[in-house]
Subunit: 415 residues, 2 copies
């Protein structure tokens, strides 16, 4: 389990250097070959060769000459070609399915959410419906001239990522489901193998690409829906822990004498700041209704109450915010993030919960750091995880464009 160092061949070298140049193009586009040589340290010759390979693969485009007001021969600018390759993000959640197509320039090319009550529904049928959504998305991409290079699925539960299986998804009622196989069986073959990840992790990644981005630094993204989870992102990568269970914020104990939790503990955060607990404390019934989101859901009702200044609702949210802040303080002490992002239901409740969260956070994060980390609120919608999933595919291509080189240039209609 130690960090393995792998052999490097000429091919590996080339592949890495392609990623270096592609990354630099994406960061500085439009950019000339000369400038790329400058920032990467490669010779102009090497840059030209690498750019040519990326161009052949359709990942990069020449934009025509640009003059920067300086003298000398004008440069030909290169930028990422967003019109050839795309990533597909998929999401299964308790009350909806989502799909999203992202091009290499990280522009959303297709986005589709369908409400569906997936609780207790047969996994095969759910994945079947998701496959339909995926096919529509791939077709929509095709109409825009895009080739979908790979797909990632967001799932709400604990996963065996290596085996491509869902271990348990309590809110769906799933247990040991071969989600990945079911999905790939229904999909046309893609250049990159399909992958799955936890919904909380992918929502956190979505924040990286569609929220405040790299300004976030290392961050903890709280994604309360039914439970309370957190995605931890360090240096642009998800921190998963040894078994993929890291970020279980919902079962951090905030009150040792609190109410018992389904997990066997007492006073878990989920008992104080889970959606159900908040709604109950606010006096909103019908917590087990089929759909909790949407304009008719109890969450919307809660927000209405809060807007109206309802005392009971306000104090319920305040108390939840305090508990959340307390658990986050523990996370800050242990993980030392730059930023904390409130997502999921907490982004909707932020206007009322935030002061309590901040106060509790400040109280619990001590003398060591000069100030508690920044607290921001996610602006992403319900399909944050689908966005993050699609972005992960794009990320994968950007980090190893060589994966697509043979693939795409071999296409009979390629140009």
């Amino acid at each position: 389990m130690r960090n393995e160092i792998t052999p490097v061949r000429h091919g590996t070298m080339r592949a890495r250097n392609l990623a270096v140049v592609l990354g630099e193009i994406s960061r500085r586009q439009p950019v000339s070959r000369a400038r790329l040589a400058d920032v990467t340290g490669f010779t102009k010759t090497t840059v030209s060769s690498l750019v040519a390979a990326l161009k052949d693969a359709g990942l990069v485009r020449e934009d025509g000459p640009v003059r920067d007001g300086e003298r000398g021969r004008p440069a030909t600018a290169v930028s990422v070609n967003g019109d050839r390759v795309a990533g597909l993000g998929l999401e299964v959640n308790v009350d909806y399915l989502a799909a999203c197509v992202l091009d290499l320039g990280r522009r959303i090319r297709h986005r589709h959410i369908v409400a569906a009550d997936n609780r207790g529904r047969d996994p095969e049928r759910v994945i079947g419906a998701l496959t339909d959504l995926a096919e529509t998305a791939i077709a929509a991409a095709g109409e825009q001239g895009l080739t979908v290079a790979g797909a990632v699925v967001a799932l709400p539960g604990t996963l065996d990522r290596a085996g491509g299986r869902v271990r348990t998804a309590p809110n769906l009622g799933w247990r040991d489901v071969a989600a990945e196989d079911l999905l790939t069986a229904g999909l046309p073959p893609l250049a990159l193998p399909a992958d799955q990840d936890n919904e909380a992790n992918l929502a956190a990644l979505g924040e990286l690409w569609f929220g405040d981005g790299p300004d976030l630094g290392s961050y903890v993204h709280v994604s309360g829906e039914i439970g309370v989870g957190a995605g931890i992102v360090v240096d642009g990568r998800v921190f998963r822990g040894a078994h993929g269970f890291a970020g279980e914020l919902g079962h951090v104990v905030v009150d040792p004498d609190g109410p018992p939790c389904a997990c066997g503990g007492r006073g878990c955060l989920e008992q104080a700041a889970g959606q159900e607990a908040i709604l109950r404390a606010a006096g909103i019934p019908d917590v087990t209704a089929t759909s909790t989101a949407g304009p008719d859901g109890p969450l919307a009702a809660l927000v209405t109450l809060l807007r109206g200044g309802d005392e009971r609702a306000l104090s319920a949210v305040r108390r939840a915010g305090e508990a959340l802040g307390q658990a986050l303080a523990a996370a800050v002490n242990l993980l030392d993030p730059d930023t904390i992002v409130l997502g999921g239901i907490f982004s909707a409740l932020a206007p009322w919960a935030r002061p309590a969260v901040e106060a509790a956070l400040a109280r619990g994060t001590g003398i060591v750091r000069t100030a508690p980390p920044r607290l921001t609120v996610s602006r992403l919608g319900g399909d944050a995880a689908a966005l993050g999933a699609a972005a992960l595919v794009v990320e994968r291509v950007m980090n190893d464009p060589a994966l697509l080189l043979a693939e795409i240039s071999a296409r009979p209609d390629g140009r």
Copy 2:
């Protein structure tokens, strides 16, 4: 702050491949070139060339022919040469200074601890004394034919690692000390630049190399001395967080209504399981004595009481263990480690504290994981951090032997 991909040249390729082969040799020694070619995937030609370079640098040694009972030409075994290169680990702590020399085979070649009351002492004099210790160690290494390739210092406090400065070390009374400069000024030039790290982090790494090793997987190493800290190790590397403050276990809140803490919070773990708190609860006076360790220190007194079955001491340790288990439960929920290692004072108190720690840990780590992580007790002594520091130097050489290639082969007396 995103994970940067760096350009690869021929030199980089060579350097990495040297590390690959050296790592494989260290893992399987004694091992033949043929087998190395097998496990790395390199051709025999390449392996021979890489091994020759490592041999020239004195990092690797040929052991003579070995026959494995099979037929065919016998192989010449290669192993790591522990007799040429060494790493130096140094440690400044509240009541002692330590130095330790480790050869490439991770055998301890020199180890020296001197008691010294460093509280409030002038940083320059402390580092001066440490430099003396270092020089003795380097000389001792030289007498054994070893060249010290680099040094790492363990310091108890918050550090600016990039700038080589100690920001604050409360227990030493230090504030903004240029420790690294002071040290390098007093030391002969080494092949690798000197480095510093937090004592808790290095103690945790010490556990990796001198404790249960890679069996630990990802782990959290609790290192209570005066305060309570933790080193988090993931995939053999220290997890530091965004500003190097990760693992501040001591200020995780275990009792929101507990006593106020110097950090500004309430009911921090340190207030319940810090050395001072435990001693007070056990009824042992003289907590602020100059030396807390050693056979005459209050910790030894506490152990004596515990051995004698003293009720008050037993319950003090039990309560501390409970609090520790509670804080660790939060760490487990957030970090998902394979193992938790009790180090520092807790390794001495483990026989009495362990049941309480385990019970609280089990209570707080819920349904998601099938079982709480393994709990082990460190067998390392007080200079665990110095060991870890020296091991870090060795690790650095193993991960990039090319750093020493020019260095050593250029030595006039090199052979």
